[in-house]
């Protein structure tokens, strides 16, 4: 895992300070250390033991310039522990996280785990997220008979951190409990020997002598080596549990199994299946309707192409209808073109929301399908806000079906959107982001598909969280303010609500 794990403490003389930081290092060429051990990190990382602090104090000087190294030959990764990370940029981040974990993001007098991050926007890449576990270590010479410590895990990937939370919490708590246990033993022994309350009341107490290193507090001189090993274990095992990859474009997100997943998280599948559409155009057509999709003839192959054909506004309207669960009817000839439009649009929705009939000779009601392709001659109901109809019209000069069949390119057709509804003034986030992504010329088609995959996943996650709250709300009346706060946290705005309702109804309802 690409993270830094650090031990920090609140020094009575110097305030918050970093004691030990462990980080993984990888590099192509590996160095051999003097001791003939292989080392995979960049040599700079262990060259100059970085450590400056004046005036030094024993408590802050934990590893005093030493570096611990553990190498994992299987994955060609070396884990390096020194007082602060060797890159000064990371050092700054760790120091700031240290101050926050000990002096800001603490509930008064309470130990425990929490996650905080920079407010640079949740998906932003420059901010970092920190999981911090603050805890107390007893110290008979400390002013309050205990001192504050924290173990922090700093990553750039907030989602990853949140997903790892249960794992990290469980294991960090174990480390902490062990440290506290040994410190308690020392504390009790010291108190028996020299009862501090009495000494202080007699005025023979000098607090400034109290800055003792953790090794003394826990009575184990090797405590930092121990911590190094724990942190290495944590980093190594975290990466075997979850890995960072690009979101999948695969339509077949396994919704069924998601419901059973205990941690209430959706795991992003890393399988790539972008060709799914092209190779199995009729794979999900379970309906009895005869599918007459030909593989030749004019067709729409991508969303950007569709957008160009329809124009940005019409395209947005269609996408909007699709996202909020209204029926889309594409009417016209030839069948291949009609079906390809529908298949192209389908990528926007998760599997569970799609009830698609690629081509039918007569109209089907919205209860049967939300995406329908029909013959040009079939009768259709009047357009209404609930049904958006896209007419595919051949050019004026070709009247006969034969001449229509001669047309090879989609842009030879004209497209008319018949939808009396109105786009909301504020677009749903999904639509707004999609529009922005497609507006920029720079995104390649493949990148766009990744973006759509990510958008779908985000929206689905939000729908899921909302669904979870809604079902629980019925059971035990929860505070509506909590729900508002949740929606805010998810970044859901009012116009998203309709989208989420549709998605959670179709994908998640039990």
């Amino acid at each position: 895992m690409n993270a830094v794990v650090s031990l920090c403490h609140f020094c009575e003389l110097h305030g918050p300070n970093v004691l030990l930081s462990t980080q993984p290092c990888r590099s192509q060429k590996h160095t051999t250390l003097k001791s003939s051990h292989a080392f995979y990190g960049p040599p700079e990382s262990i060259e100059a033991p970085r450590y400056v602090l004046s005036p030094p104090c024993e408590a802050c000087q934990a590893v005093s310039g030493n570096t611990f190294i553990t190498s994992d030959h299987e994955t060609q990764t070396s884990y390096v522990s020194s007082q602060v990370p060797w890159q000064s940029e990371t050092e700054g981040l760790v120091r700031q996280a240290c101050t926050r974990s000990l002096s800001c993001e603490v509930s008064p007098g309470k130990e425990g785990i929490l996650v905080f991050s920079d407010d640079l926007g949740l998906g932003s890449s420059c901010g970092c997220s920190v999981l911090s576990h603050t805890f107390l270590i007893r110290d008979s010479l400390a002013r309050g008979f205990h001192r504050w410590f924290s173990i922090i895990v700093l990553t750039k990937d907030r989602l990853l951190l949140l997903n790892l939370w249960p794992f990290l919490e469980k294991n960090i708590s174990t480390f902490v409990a062990e440290l506290q246990m040994s410190a308690n033993k020392v504390y009790e022994a010291e108190q028996v020997e020299r009862p501090q309350r009495a000494i202080r009341l007699n005025g023979a107490y000098c607090a400034d002598k109290s800055s003792r290193p953790l090794s003394e507090l826990t009575g184990s001189p090797k405590v930092f080596a121990q911590l190094h090993l724990w942190f290495v274990w944590l980093l190594r095992n975290a990466s075997t549990r979850l890995r960072e990859t690009l979101p999948s474009v695969d339509l077949a997100i396994p919704f069924g199994s998601l419901e059973e997943c205990e941690d209430k998280f959706i795991f992003v599948s890393a399988r790539k299946d972008a060709n799914y559409l092209k190779t199995h155009p009729s794979a999900d057509n379970e309906s009895s309707v005869n599918c007459v999709v030909e593989s030749t003839g004019p067709s729409v192959s991508s969303l950007s192409m569709l957008r160009t054909l329809l124009g940005a506004v019409n395209f947005a309207s269609i996408v909007f209808c699709l996202l909020v669960g209204r029926q889309i009817v594409v009417r016209g000839q030839p069948a291949s073109l009609v079906a390809s439009i529908l298949f192209t649009l389908k990528t926007l929705l998760p599997q569970g929301c799609v009830r698609l009939i690629p081509f039918s000779s007569q109209y089907r009601s919205p209860t049967e399908c939300n995406m329908l392709g029909i013959d040009a001659r079939a009768a259709v109901p009047q357009p209404s806000p609930q049904v958006a109809r896209l007419e595919v019209l051949p050019p004026l000069d070709c009247e006969t079906p034969e001449s229509v069949n001669q047309l090879k390119e989609a842009h030879q057709f004209t497209f008319h959107l018949k939808w009396p509804g109105q786009l909301p003034i504020k677009w749903p986030t999904f639509l707004a982001k999609l529009d922005r992504a497609m507006h920029s010329e720079q995104l390649s088609n493949a990148t766009l598909m990744l973006q759509i995959g990510a958008l779908r996943m985000e929206t689905l996650n939000a729908a899921r969280a909302l669904h979870y709250v809604d079902t629980n709300e019925k059971k035990d009346s929860c505070d509506p303010r909590d729900k508002t706060a949740l929606l805010q946290a998810l970044g859901v705005n009012l116009s998203d609500r309709e989208v989420l309702t549709f998605w959670s109804k179709s994908c998640l309802s039990i």
Binding site: R100, D119, R143, R200, E458, N461, V492
Partner: protein
């Protein structure tokens, strides 16, 4: 959830779990009602900041003054690791938040939002440990004052030369002179001599800390001139030597009359409050009624052997009046009690008005204090003038005409006793 924020998201444009600088402390989860835009927060509570080097005694001061901690217990206080915001407004008259800072952290570091820390702050108390070497403390004082002044020029700066209990009187004076001199020289050197620093010698082992804190708090009470005038009128009409208006919980006095305060009489009055509270805690509390140790019936009279009397009466839920007077003047207790009632009513009106309408209050309090100022000379010149003084004092505070006529009627019936008391003087 990776719901990327979108500049079009009207809902929560800047939501994040911990926004470091903006909501330093505990941000939105703090529950101290200090939300940056909370419509409910209404009247902003002024803040008193306690700053100073580590181990200078900030937390001790806050605990001893506002939480009744015994001074010896402060030996076991932990080193403060974050800003502790203490809202004392629901247990006491003093509507303030006290912020106790960790001494080790430099809050002028750009990672902290100094606008947010010093913006709404009324007073900054800088604590210097006088038992220790104080060069560093003076440097930090200078730094703190200059930077805080830049953010918020209306902050009042109070320097507590603290832990003076271990020092000889000579050394105390010498230290105060030295610190005073050097701090002001430093300011003058950087061209900031318009900044005013007030110095106090304090210790948690005696009443000096309460005295000093009283002065700090008084400067932040907008009604202070009114309260002082009311007390002046009261004592001059009732032959009282000295009167303090106490905040019962913290034992700081929020106002006194114009005669000088000597430490001894202040201590006497503090002790008296302790006695009253202790006695009524032991004997006055019935478990079933859940009555407070201090209520509207609270009153107490202590006669000292030197012919002095201490007299305590409840004024409001959080305030008590404690008077020192000669035994001879107490013959006319009825008059004093009557005057006290008038006084209490006036005080209550001052604060009712404040809670009713902050804006309306501001103007009327000014009007009122000037009215009292004018009636001051009358008070001393004649007996009927005195009663007018009491009257004119209450009248401008009244909002409703009904109330005014009522209090007029009342005062008519009482004109005589007041006169009598004035004669007795």
């Amino acid at each position: 959830m990776s719901y990327e924020q979108d500049e079009e998201d009207q809902y929560a444009p800047n939501f994040s779990v911990g926004s470091f600088p903006k909501e330093f402390g505990y941000g939105a989860f703090d529950g101290d009602g200090e939300g940056p835009s909370g419509p409910l927060s209404g009247e902003q509570k002024p803040r008193i900041l306690l700053m100073g080097l580590r181990r200078s005694g900030k937390s001790s001061i806050q605990k001893v003054v506002f939480h009744k901690m015994s001074p010896n217990e402060t030996l076991f206080l932990e080193s403060t690791n974050k800003i502790i915001k203490d809202d004392i407004s629901n247990s006491s008259f003093v509507q303030f938040q006290i912020w106790d800072f960790p001494g080790q952290i430099d809050f002028f570091d750009p990672t902290f939002d100094s606008d947010m820390i010093f913006g709404g702050c009324g007073a900054l108390v800088f604590v210097i440990d006088a038992q220790d070497e104080y060069n560093d403390a003076l440097n930090r004082l200078h730094q703190t004052v200059t930077k805080a002044y830049k953010v918020n020029p209306s902050i009042r700066f109070e320097v507590f030369i603290h832990k003076v209990d271990g020092l000889s009187d000579d050394y105390k004076m010498e230290t105060q002179r030295d610190i005073h001199q050097r701090a002001n020289d430093d300011l003058a050197d950087s061209g900031l001599d318009q900044i005013h620093l007030s110095f106090h010698l304090t210790s948690i082992y005696d009443h000096s800390i309460f005295e000093a804190f009283s002065k700090v708090v008084q400067k932040l009470i907008p009604q202070l001139p009114t309260l002082e005038n009311l007390l002046n009128i009261l004592i001059s009409n009732s032959a009282i030597e000295k009167a303090f208006l106490f905040d019962v919980v913290s034992k700081i006095y929020i106002a006194t009359d114009f005669s000088p305060v000597d430490m001894q009489s202040y201590e006497l009055c503090c002790d008296m409050i302790d006695v009253v509270i202790d006695v009524s805690c032991i004997y006055g509390l019935h478990e079933d009624t859940g009555a407070a140790a201090f209520d509207s019936q609270s009153s107490s009279l202590i006669k000292l052997t030197n012919g002095t009397i201490l007299y305590l009466r409840e004024v409001t839920k959080f305030l008590a009046l404690v008077c020192i007077l000669r035994e001879a003047s107490f013959d006319r207790q009825g008059v004093i009690d009557y005057n006290f009632l008038c006084f209490r009513e006036a005080i209550q009106q001052v604060f009712e008005l404040r809670s009713k309408n902050q804006v309306a209050y501001n103007s009327s309090s000014q009007a009122n204090s000037s009215a009292v100022g004018e009636s001051g000379p009358n008070t001393s010149s004649g007996a009927s003038g005195a009663s007018n003084g009491l009257l004119s004092n209450t009248a401008p505070l009244d909002n409703s005409p009904n109330n005014t006529s009522e209090s007029l009627k009342q005062s008519n019936t009482v004109l005589y006793p007041v006169q009598d008391s004035a004669v007795a003087m």
